[in-house]
């Protein structure tokens, strides 16, 4: 039999069906098997490459949806006349459902970001319209980008889970980004001139839900440097079920946001949005199921500018009982929402006993013991002494050390918490893996932040991190306030 053509192999690699004879031939023929292997690899790399750079989170879509509802609301009538809402027979107000409903509570500070257009208040049944538009990119993992909605527990209660963080028109977005760029540029220049590293970000959110049985960290921001790290774009989606409702935990990874998570559960709105403009949404209404979300905000932080300190709590008396939301923050820099402002939203009345699989992973995951040391070099190969290397995870600094003359740090031995997302996605692994963020700072060099450094229990690691020197600040005539966002200059070598 003749070999499979490249077109056939490509289509097969994409999932198309082939005749049985050709399939059997492909398995037996070394030439075709090699072509298949090659095409599968290239297909995965293609998907990974073509989807990189555009992190999509449920929050983005929610914001876009809210914008559409806001901007295009008057068009609904004409759209319906054109048969637009053909499928929404039972809910013709598909577009206006979120807009017409009273926002449960809208407390936005600063420039007014953080408006929440939630579903109709008082809706008690648990409809999950959770969306996980996470992206798992990678050669091995391929790319998963999709929408996964949770099951509908009560079909009669149709609702639109419409939470949004910061619905603002495009012009306002652009203006805001320009201001953020300006702030970042000024901060970076000031730090570079002073020869100091960027201020670190130590923020920790604690999201306690008393009837969930465990307190779960919702958003944790670790140290933040000027460089956006390896920009690992990882997300995983965990879906849990509830006794009477449904809950879905969504971890939406985002480019340049390291790994992130946000919990979304059904029903009414509880929105907490820490937006770059200073808007801190408050939780309101009934609080949804607690979805653990270890979030490491890797957005490019604005240096120097302490924008807010927020401590807030909201007691809710919804169907799920009370819940508290406390954000305690040290200096917390602005993070542009386009690169992942820490946002945690939960929608919906919480069904009693709802827990996500990730919650269980938090409870079950064991610590990871790791030893290792790090060498820091300049991009020209020079070994750097005096560089500060910090391992952090879950908002805690696990270990920190300075490099000596040979560029190496002393041997670091630390215990890292098991990563809840990895634990939940890989339940079969015996040792729960952990993930740390490595921050390397050295005066005169751009700090490097490497996200998603995998940690295995008992492993020894000796990575080498390369730093790039900070060039002399010269005005850029095209963009006066360049964003000092660079790729992580760190290259990990085993």
């Amino acid at each position: 039999m003749r070999h499979l053509s490249w077109d056939e192999v490509w289509e097969w690699a994409q999932g198309a069906e082939l005749p049985a004879a050709k399939r059997s031939h492909a398995h037996g023929c070394p030439v075709c098997a090699e072509r298949v292997r090659r095409c599968e690899e290239l297909h995965r790399a293609l998907v990974c490459t073509l989807t990189a750079g555009v992190g999509v989170t449920a929050g983005d879509d929610d914001a876009l949806l809210a914008f559409l509802r806001q901007e295009a609301g008057p068009l609904l009538v004409s759209a319906q006349a054109a048969g637009f809402a053909a499928r929404a027979a039972d809910g013709s107000a598909s577009l206006l459902a979120g807009a017409s409903a009273d926002p449960v509570e809208d407390a936005s500070a600063g420039s007014g970001a953080g408006s929440s257009a939630g579903p109709v208040a008082g809706r008690s049944a648990g409809l999950v319209s959770g969306v996980s538009a996470g992206q798992v990119s990678g050669v091995s993992a391929g790319q998963v980008s999709g929408v996964s909605a949770g099951p509908v527990a009560s079909p009669s209660a149709s609702g639109v889970a419409g939470s949004s963080a910061g619905s603002r028109p495009g012009r306002a977005n652009r203006t805001r980004r320009r201001w953020i760029r300006a702030a970042i540029g000024i901060g970076a220049a000031a730090c570079a001139a002073a020869g100091v590293s960027w201020p670190s970000l130590e923020a920790r959110w604690v999201h306690g839900v008393d009837d969930a049985g465990s307190a779960v960290a919702v958003a944790t921001a670790g140290r933040e440097g000027s460089a956006v790290g390896g920009a690992s774009d990882v997300s995983s989606s965990t879906t849990g079920s509830a006794a009477t409702g449904d809950a879905e935990g969504t971890a939406g990874g985002r480019h340049a946001a390291g790994r992130s998570g946000q919990g979304t559960s059904a029903g009414s709105t509880a929105l907490a949005a820490a937006d770059g403009t200073g808007g801190v949404g408050r939780t309101a209404g009934t609080l949804g199921a607690a979805a653990p979300a270890d979030r490491i905000a890797g957005a490019s932080g604005s240096a120097g500018g302490v924008t807010r300190q927020a401590t807030q709590s909201a007691a809710n008396d919804g169907s799920a009982g009370s819940a508290s939301w406390v954000q305690t923050a040290g200096p917390m820099e602005e993070a542009p929402s386009s690169t992942g402002a820490p946002t945690a939203s939960s929608n919906g009345p919480r069904a009693g006993g709802a827990s996500t699989t990730a919650t269980k992973a938090v409870q079950n995951g064991g610590p990871v013991r790791v030893q290792g040391r790090v060498q820091v070099r300049a991009s020209d190969g020079r070994l750097l002494s005096g560089a500060t290397v910090t391992f952090s995870a879950g908002g805690r600094v696990l270990a920190t050390a300075r490099t000596s003359g040979d560029g190496w740090t002393p041997v670091l031995s630390f215990v890292a918490p098991a990563d809840p997302m990895l634990s939940s996605s890989t339940p079969s692994t015996s040792g729960a893996p952990g993930v740390a963020v490595v921050t390397v700072e050295c005066p005169g060099y751009r700090p490097a932040v490497v996200y998603e450094v995998g940690l295995a229990d008992g492993a020894w690691m000796a990575p080498v991190v390369t730093l790039e020197p900070i060039p002399s600040a010269t005005p850029n005539p095209v963009r006066p306030n360049p964003i000092p966002v660079t790729s992580s200059s760190a290259t990990f070598q085993a």
Partner: protein, 180 residues
């Protein structure tokens, strides 16, 4: 014309397939046409609004091809207004999943090789590959989106794939250490 699988989904485009899927596709197209991550959200917003406002003008066929066509036209309009050249795909935009440092390096290198090869492709080929490989468009849908005949699209896809394989192979051959 498909609705998303959640029967209670009542989002604006759901009668034409889920809004969120279209938004993801639009984001990817915008990014690969403009090569500017800062503009992705803004342009996506403008495109989706344009799509929504032009729902009356939709005359059947694949709705996502219709959306893709609007997205392409809008992006090229924006580029034409700016009169700027396209930018290369930035290294930091390459996503990786790294269970460990070693695998991170290997995976990142593989993706980087393909990214370099993709950069050498014609922009239209990149768009076609994006629609075909990532968003699983049929040849007919791609043809509707890029205003070509399906047969021409099929040929173009095959040539782009072949070129991609050749580029990656050539790079590997050049980078292989010489023996002896």
């Amino acid at each position: 014309m498909g609705c998303c699988f959640n029967v209670n989904c009542q989002e604006p485009f759901c009668a034409y397939g889920c809004f969120r899927e279209h938004a993801a596709m639009v984001r990817h197209l915008v990014y690969h046409i403009t090569r500017d991550a800062n503009d992705v959200e803004d342009l996506t917003q403008e495109i989706m609004l344009k799509v929504y406002r032009s729902l009356d003008g939709y005359r059947g066929g694949s709705f996502r091809a219709y959306v893709a066509r609007i997205a392409r036209n809008h992006c090229y309009d924006v580029l034409r207004r700016r009169q700027t050249g396209e930018l290369p795909l930035a290294d930091e935009m390459l996503a990786t999943v790294a269970p460990g440092p070693e695998e991170l390096v290997v995976q990142r290198e593989a993706v980087w090789e393909v990214a370099q090869a993709i950069n050498q492709l014609h922009p239209l080929d990149r768009e076609i590959l994006l629609l075909r490989h990532v968003h699983q468009f049929s040849y007919d849908e791609i043809a509707a989106a890029v205003n070509m005949r399906p047969g021409a699209v099929r040929t173009r896809v095959a040539r782009a794939r072949r070129k991609l394989v050749d580029l990656v192979n050539g790079r590997e051959m050049r980078e292989a250490p010489e023996l002896g």
